[in-house]
């Protein structure tokens, strides 16, 4: 979503993005010409008159699970976005019985919060695991 019109979205997709992504952008490219939605989400850049780079993970109940906002010159890391999405999906599937520690990726160890884990995280999880692939 940006402040561009749907006509500009079409031109950008058809003339440039489709050369980067086979078949063009698969998801809807939305127009927020007035910036109303950007303001509603707290990411409209009033000085520049554009949206900052806001990214929101919304769960199936419509609840915002996480967000990230960057100023325009720095691009996002989509691997991290996907990792967070996978982590939220995992936690939801476990109905909150498991939590994903720092650096978690699918296949890595999760933690099961409870009385026995208090003070014992060091036995289950080491700092280096936050940095491992």
């Amino acid at each position: 979503m940006s402040i561009d019109s749907v006509f500009v979205h079409k031109m950008w997709n058809d003339n440039e993005l489709s050369k980067m992504v086979d078949g063009g952008v698969p998801f809807p490219m939305l127009s927020d010409a007035s910036g109303k939605i950007g303001r509603l989400y707290g990411v409209f850049n009033e000085e520049a008159g554009v949206e900052n780079r806001g990214r929101f993970i919304i769960d199936p109940d419509g609840i915002i699970q996480g967000y990230e906002v960057l100023m325009p010159p720095v691009g996002r890391n989509f691997n991290e976005t996907i990792r967070q999405l996978q982590a939220f999906q995992y936690v939801r599937k476990s109905k909150g019985t498991e939590a994903t520690p720092a650096g978690w990726k699918p296949g890595k160890k999760t933690l099961k919060p409870g009385p026995d884990l208090v003070g014992n995280v060091w036995k289950e999880w080491q700092t280096k695991m936050a940095f491992e692939d």
Partner: protein, 86 residues
């Protein structure tokens, strides 16, 4: 989920579904509320404010309402502008 949209010469833009959500546009009737407090902030764990917006997808102009996607995981991304570089 989405409806194809008729396009005219206007430049349609999106907006909140419930206009009361867009508190920034409201006149300041409460003198105790400063403009900064009026500005609604997004919080994790809270409902994503609903909106509808025109869109382009795979050759079609469509109308998209966020709440029509509830039931699925949604990744909502905003960015400064088309044809910018990053």
């Amino acid at each position: 989920m989405t409806e194809e949209m008729a396009v005219g010469c206007t430049r349609p833009g999106g907006g909140p579904v419930d206009e009361t959500q867009n508190l920034t546009d409201k006149p300041e009737t409460d003198p105790n509320t400063t403009p900064k407090e009026i500005k609604q902030m997004i919080q994790v764990g809270h409902k994503a404010p609903d909106f509808s917006a025109p869109g382009y997808q795979q050759g079609k102009f469509i109308d998209v309402k966020l709440s029509n996607y509830f039931g699925k995981w949604v990744l909502l991304c905003l960015y400064p502008g088309d044809f910018t570089f990053v």
